[in-house]
Symmetry: D2
């Protein structure tokens, strides 16, 4: 396959002018499969050799919103792995996940990203206090910002799912947390929270794409608000859960009663292996079911399994069986089977988040951004789970924020238009 | 199973007071399975022995809208069949579709409905002109109105799907149509249109729940508008198509490209037999696919089959296979299998339409009601197919219309509230 | 529905004459749903008001084998429940599992069965030693045999799945087991094994339709062989597992490699509740997967879940996802969704076992009958799991045994004929 | 991916010695996707760089049968296309069907095959009589045989499905057929039959892997028998039909009644386009359903569709819905979804047929070989469709024939062993 830039590629050039400078996308877990797909994608979109399919920000709903172009995004990040990104991308191409021709075309760009990846925080080998670790990580991010003269940096956690930590008093009080962090004999925060605090310390916007603790501890959120950074989370809504949040409102709108919603997820790859750990999977399962129960009621029976099936590789197959009670107690059943490379569903959302958090940052917004709940299983700052309502909220927020950032450019955006 | 009225049954007593009198529900195809289920249901809901599950008008979205109570609905209709309704209901109970205990509990009420069913128009045996037939049918409806002192009558066509007629000049000009109707040597209109015109002549609101021609001929719609009746259509959106109109917007909102959407429907019963006729099925297939193509684009490959499988009876099973292109051309597939008694999905919508068209009529509205497109595969007066947008439009219309009809009662309705 | 005996009902009158007298079917768990379905079925078949659909013994493969007629089977059993069988049958008819008209037609016969049901062994309330309990239960069976002048009695365990007991030395040595049983301060055997031993003591043939311990303890099998009774087991192969044992040989015969075989079972009803107990489900899961792994190799990844979903009632829905590697490592996937009333799949097999074990008993066979492995997930005395091979073995055994029992009658049986 | 020969690759070296020389595999449609996959596969297996997964002849059932080694097979054929085979293979690798590394490894071998491909018969451009065409094609095959000193040549038709011809008297009488073939003004035979006759004329064994007419005209089969060549057919049993022939016997063996079996096949690629032609698809549909109806009875309702869905490429997805009646009329439903590259299922069977027809030829067998019905939807010379019975027949035939060909080598073959 020969690839030539497509001059008619509208998505590489958003309609509304973004005049706020280049932005950094700093990925926690920068050599993982989601990050690799996102890095390959950003550069393919920037080069105009692939359309922005799968990006909400390139879709009709957000047309006219001033967002950084794909060629204005610089990628870097933290990871414990040292496998070169280009090698990782080739492996994913061999596995059928990434198109080999696109990987080949962005080879040079991936090497440039490699030069921007720093070692992540490793609790097993880190010597000093967690405060030291946070300072080192924040320093990496700040240096990245300076090195590339970035107007905004967005840190997104796409690392492996961790077990959730037991609750502790320090998680609720920033003073006692600070004391514990300074104590080299303790390692009070899980890795995802160390990384999140480093993002905050570096003054970066932050998004948590995993169900790990991340910034989701009260003391950390207090610190983020004090620092004035915008943030969003949590746990990317990519496949089965996405489906559920469009189907469940259909049933309730029609006055039907969902009685049970059973689900089984099969996947291999790194994610499969991570989720084979019963502790790690617990946080994932809770996160996956929360939106469903919020939409159809806590009384619904909703068994849910995630099975590690290594031979399936990165393709995730999810089967759902829904039993709904209709008119005069009639039985309705719906089965869905969804099959896709999970990381390929996640990657465009990561790019969307980088663009939209840059916009929020440019508009001076801080704290949790409920409108970005659209992207997450567990929306921070919002209890809206119904997909269509989330879409409406996102459009509305993006349109208003866009007007604040670039009044003239955004003048033509249709607000609240019917899809 | 013993059934006792449930005093806590909120759905039997809508919040907002309806003060506009009793309403008639006149069913074309009054002894068919949809009509039988609707008749059983109305009386079970009126008696408070079953909840209004499956009725949109009893759901959270329309709470506070003043609508006739279930016990304010009187049922009658036209049919060619003479099988007693109670017998028909027992047969459907034997087949597992209707609950036997509910059928037994409303036996007396069904006999009363039987007394309100008049012979339908039969082109094979009708002697005079079609104008005569229309006058006779309209007379039946008017007598029903008078007999029961009904404030409003809603005629709903739930009869078997017909083949669509070839287009003719008379369908576009009400004068030449009138001339043709008066000519006993011609039978220019299909049965569904004869019935629709009778509804108009009798000054009743009208809804077309089938894909047949019905009122959907320009000259007929002109006559309906002249007569000032409200109407809605067409082809009830009950199962597979309902599903498609929530799934398709999910893909487009997320910037994904639907490449193909293949579907197979298996069903037996009367509907299966009707749709085994290639001519009848053609109108159904066109209607089923129209919304999909409108939502995802005309370029989508969308083979669709309806197979008559008599042994499956009234349970319809629909399998859809959706191929979607995502980020960097990645392949996403979704399969859905929906299984339900189709008539049990339709019946509550028929009751909803009776209530909502009564409201429109009470508010003095006439012509096509785009907000009722929510209930149909082929919405008249609207090109909105996305389910969530239809739900928003329905709520908004119902709320405003309710305010017009009963200003005080509707004061507490939340307008445009997020689900 | 009116039911009239069907004079042409071939299945009520097997071709080959059975001249060995009436047989007793003694069910452990005689008021459960499998037993109720079997009791309703035996009497419906005996009366000629239903065909023997679902009975292997009435199928083409065993034509000509001399087996007791359905009207020669007398039903009794043990249970802790006291709900009348006719009431239980009506409840199952209300739930849609049994046809109401058939239940009504056999009402009198069910009352007669009721009179043959004795209290089962209840460890919670039993006062003496387990030896006492066994003697009491065996006495019940012997009295049943005498009361009805039965030539053969077949005891079949269709009670709820138990947790498997921890292994103990007494399970391997009949002498020390006898001592422990005589000691009223111990309750060494699980209930299913107490019942199995009672069957052996009463000289009855025995089949274990559940994955519980039953007769499957070495010391018990020694006692059974000493007593000379024929027996078969274990765990009826009804749905998903049946499917697996025809699909797996297809793949291996074609030289394909099964890589993973994931399964999820959803069910409610009594079985769902029983299997919600993690201990009880463990024995079930092991039993379900054993045949699969034997057919495709121990290396296959085979996660398996059984979820209790009460709203689904007695309908079991099982989804399997099979990943197979084909030529040049190509990926083949197969998904199956099986949906049925599980007890209705089991009941005809229970009747088949009663007839075939009577035949074995008449032929003087004793010990484990490997040919009856056809009916079980975990065949005793055989490691053949492939369904087609089991069918061949069953035909061959039935034909030979039939010849031994009734040489003339069975002369026309085609041996080894191609299906 | 680096590929190194696997010294432990048992499949590259069959146990039983084949001493009858090199064999030719002559493919009609030699540049199509099945042929390309077969050519890539033969050379990969010969080189020991891939295991013979998917080949029945390399499975446990036929161990010990003397068959030509993969490195003793020489590939050639006829085709109208001139796309180089190596290019075709690369395209199929790009599409994800063939592994790119394997294609690269056999590049040189594919070029050698290219040199053995001759232009096929093109009715649109052929100038003389069909007898001339047959002679030219037969000459190509004979020259291939001579050029490579082949002991046996097997011609296999893997070309696109044709519409079936109308019946004609000449199809039933070899004399009048000969006259018609000699007449240049007629083109009485479809292309597949011209090719089949060329195979016969060249004294080659022949297999028809498609539902086209091929050798399946009485006069042609007479000629084949006269010429003494062995042949087998028809229409490779690869996916959905394979599945049906293991599932249907399961139901009948258990005495259940299949009521309906509905199927939908979605595919793109060349096959999808060919089968979009209603005439071509008709022969396919008949062939697909014939075995099913033979197994479960003609009364079964069995709607079947093949839809051309170009975006799905060569992956075929087939959904089947089976409704089965069980005990006391209980409803059982089974849905299967099978998804695979169809050509990758076909290719190993083509290699199997080449090996087994060489064996038959070596044993001096001629005429239709019923035992090879195992590989076909429409077995010639047999009405056995049940997969397990076909497998038994194949093993038995292969074992006996092997003994005839190489008495010593085959001595250790287990005959009739239980799988």
């Amino acid at each position: 396959m020969t690839i030539t830039p497509d001059p008619s590629n509208e998505h590489a050039m958003p309609d509304a002018a973004w005049t706020r400078g280049r932005v950094g996308l700093w990925l926690i877990g920068a050599r993982g499969s989601v990050a690799t797909a996102a890095a390959v994608g950003v550069h393919a979109l920037a080069a105009g050799i692939a359309p922005a399919t799968g990006c909400t920000t390139a879709g009709p709903g957000l047309a006219g919103v001033p967002l950084p172009g794909f060629d204005e995004i610089v990628v870097g990040g933290h990871d414990l792995s040292t496998v070169p990104l280009a090698r990782r991308a080739e492996m994913l191409a061999d596995a059928g996940m990434l198109p080999a021709s696109v990987v080949a075309a962005v080879h040079r760009a991936l090497s440039a990203v490699d030069a921007e990846i720093r070692p992540g925080y490793d609790p097993a080998t880190h010597a000093g206090s967690q405060a030291d670790a946070i300072q080192r990580l924040a320093g990496d991010i700040s240096a990245f910002r300076t090195r590339h003269s970035l107007a905004h940096v967005v840190v997104i956690d796409v690392s492996s799912t961790e077990a959730l930590p037991e609750d502790r008093p320090e998680f609720h009080d920033s003073e006692s947390l600070a004391a514990a962090l300074a104590d080299a004999s303790q390692a009070i925060l899980p890795s995802s929270s160390v990384a999140a605090l480093a993002a905050v310390e570096s003054g970066s916007a932050y998004a948590c794409f995993t169900p790990s603790a991340g910034l989701n501890l009260p003391a950390l959120r207090t610190l983020a608000e004090r620092r004035g950074v915008p943030y969003a989370g949590q746990d990317g809504k990519t496949g089965e859960t996405l489906l559920r949040t469009v189907l469940a409102p259909m049933f309730t709108e029609r006055g039907m009663h969902v009685r049970s919603w059973a689900g089984t997820n099969l996947l291999g790859g790194g994610d499969g292996a991570t989720l084979a750990d019963p502790e790690a999977v617990r946080s994932k399962l809770v996160s996956k079911n929360r939106g469903l129960l919020s939409l159809v009621g806590e009384h619904v029976v909703a068994p849910l399994h995630i099975d590690n099936v290594p031979d399936l590789g990165d393709v995730k197959t999810a089967w759902d069986h829904v039993h709904v009670e209709g008119f005069l107690s009639t039985r309705i059943t719906l089965q869905t089977t969804w099959s896709a490379y999970d990381s390929m569903l996640a990657a465009p959302l990561v790019i969307d988040l980088a663009r939209l958090l840059s916009l929020a940052d440019a508009a001076g917004q801080s704290g949790a951004l409920p409108a970005l709940g659209f992207f997450f299983k567990d929306p921070w700052g919002s209890d809206v789970h119904a997909f269509a309502d989330q879409a409406t909220a996102l459009r509305s927020w993006a349109s208003e924020t866009g007007l604040a950032v670039a009044p003239a450019a955004a003048a033509s955006v249709a607000i609240g238009g019917v899809r």
